[in-house]
């Protein structure tokens, strides 16, 4: 087995436990909501609602992205694994994770839908329950979030103390400045940004989720490219 597969194996083992814990919690909540929903279904005064867990999965995989680099990179350096092989192994591990999570989420959505009044996030946004579309869209969304987490952790890893502070403060300063400027020019900036996001997510084109999948895909590739530039010759840091 070459080093890429060995590192992938380690990365997946490392992510496995947190993934099991996450879905144990999600499944437990789903079961609880199902029981409550069935129990109170005949009670006109009770209203049991469950808005889906797609966003929780996205947040979870974003955090997984944040945790996928530092200690694992150091461990692989102990075995003299090259940075380029670590990079590709990490991408494979993240893809596997996103695929597994997309399948679990879509499967759970469809099971829940048959038991209680329920709509997954994809169905809520795009008004369709096409399973393959849901899988692809969830996969794209998860890939985008996990790669974003990885990029942020790499930026922090490469930065010194001053840069870390700048990187942390910059988004807040940027948003505040944008809001001030937005007020000055009749809310055109935020409206413009909203318009771009509406286009990128396919809401502006008859809820075309394929546009969203494409947007997620292109963004992920760009982020992976940036990660590649950052991982080359990256030193070991505490």
């Amino acid at each position: 087995m070459n080093n890429i597969l060995k590192v992938t194996k380690y990365q997946i083992k490392d992510m496995r436990n947190s993934l099991i814990v996450f879905y144990t919690v999600i499944i437990s909540i789903s079961i609880l909501m199902t029981i409550l929903s069935i129990r109170y279904s005949n009670n006109p005064d009770a209203n049991v609602g469950f808005g889906g867990f797609g966003l929780s999965s996205a947040i979870f995989i974003f955090i997984a992205g944040l945790n996928c680099f530092k200690s694992n990179f150091k461990f692989m350096q102990a075995y003299n694994v090259s940075r380029i092989r670590f990079y590709f192994a990490n991408i494979i591990a993240l893809i596997i994770m996103a695929v597994v999570m997309a399948f679990i989420d879509v499967s759970m959505n469809n099971i829940l839908k048959n038991v209680i009044p329920y709509q997954g996030i994809f169905e809520q946004l795009y008004k369709t329950s096409f399973i393959l579309g849901d899988i692809l869209w969830s996969f794209g969304l998860f890939m985008f979030f996990v790669s974003l987490g990885w990029l942020i952790t790499m930026i922090y890893y490469r930065s010194n103390k001053v840069m870390k502070t700048i990187v942390s403060i910059l988004p807040v300063v940027f948003i505040v400045l944008l809001s001030v400027m937005d007020n000055l020019i009749d809310f055109q900036i935020w409206n413009g940004i909203l318009h771009i996001f509406t286009k990128l997510l396919g809401f502006a084109d008859n809820l075309n989720y394929y546009i969203a999948i494409l947007s997620f895909g292109i963004s992920t590739i760009i982020i992976f490219g940036l990660c590649f530039l950052m991982i080359r010759k990256i030193p070991i840091r505490d």
């Binding site: 080093n3 194996k9 380690y10 075995y79 694994v81 090259s82 070991i236």
Partner: protein, 286 residues
């Protein structure tokens, strides 16, 4: 084979030149001591040999193949770093298992037997190990890895005298059973000198000497006796490390021990003795 060629390596940290145009050949199946004062560039050189950092100039090859991002070449080298790179929450036995994945010749039974000899509890987590046991744990990984090249950076850090002695013995046993290239970077020169075949002395980023320990020890000798007589003997000779105690004086003469003037020494009532590697090192690097 596993011969390492370091060619014209220069490494800067900001404006500080850590290594200055270093060229050196590490021959296979020899035990080297990498000796130098703090900040001389020892760890930098070891880090460069394993791609932990990259040079500003020059290149490094293993059997003619560049080691730059070369997993195949780097898989022949096990580097015991002073820094701990292993996940702190991982148990020692789990690290053994993962080491076997990456170093397929890793001898799990040997690692466990060494753990028994050193009293290392393999069920402990890495973060639970003391400084000494962290060194032992990393040294066991290196010995059991069966890699052709072992780079040991401060392998006896925090070890008590018994464990140090045991480690040197195990290192020699492992070397005798399966010859390999070993580079030991340490400050405990006198202790390790028994184990070394060659010494590489590094000073301010430059290689000062690369000689067999025997050759180094023969390259100088100590002459001692009454101060004025010692002065007469060393007149016109190159010497280092002058030590005076009352009327008694001892000087290290930088001359091959075969050139000792025994006749003159007898007349002046002087005594010759072998120079200690540590003393020679201190004098060379001061």
């Amino acid at each position: 084979m596993n011969s390492i060629e370091v060619k014209n390596i220069t490494k800067y940290y900001g404006n500080t030149k850590a290594l200055d145009d270093v060229s050196i050949t590490i021959e296979p199946n020899k035990i080297y001591g990498l000796l130098g004062r703090n900040g001389a560039g020892k760890t930098t050189l070891l880090n460069l040999l394993t791609n932990k950092i990259f040079p500003n100039k020059g290149n490094i090859t293993l059997d003619g193949e560049s080691i730059f991002e070369n997993d195949k070449a780097l898989n022949n080298i096990f580097y015991m770093m002073e820094k701990n790179l292993f996940p702190e929450t991982m148990k020692v036995k789990e690290v053994f298992k993962w080491t076997k994945e990456f170093y397929t010749s890793f001898d799990d039974d040997y690692a466990k037997s060494l753990s028994g000899k050193f009293g290392l509890n393999i069920n402990k987590k890495v973060k639970g190990l003391s400084t000494g046991y962290t060194s032992i744990f990393k040294a066991i990984l290196a010995l059991a890895s069966n890699a052709n090249v072992l780079l040991l950076d401060e392998p006896v850090l925090g070890l008590d005298a018994n464990h140090r002695d045991l480690l040197y013995k195990e290192l020699l046993t492992s070397y005798n059973e399966r010859p390999k290239t070993i580079i030991i970077s340490t400050h405990l020169i006198e202790e390790v000198s028994e184990v070394l075949e060659e010494a590489i002395i590094i000073k301010a980023g430059k290689i000062l000497a690369k000689k067999s320990v025997e050759e180094l020890l023969e390259s100088a000798y100590t002459v001692s006796g009454e101060a004025s007589n010692v002065d007469s003997y060393i007149s016109g000779k190159e010497y280092i490390g002058e030590e005076t105690m009352g009327r008694f004086k001892s000087v290290t003469v930088l001359e091959n021990s075969s050139k000792q003037n025994k006749e003159l020494a007898r007349k002046l009532d002087l005594e010759f003795s072998n120079v200690e590697l540590q003393k020679l090192f201190i004098n060379l690097t001061n």
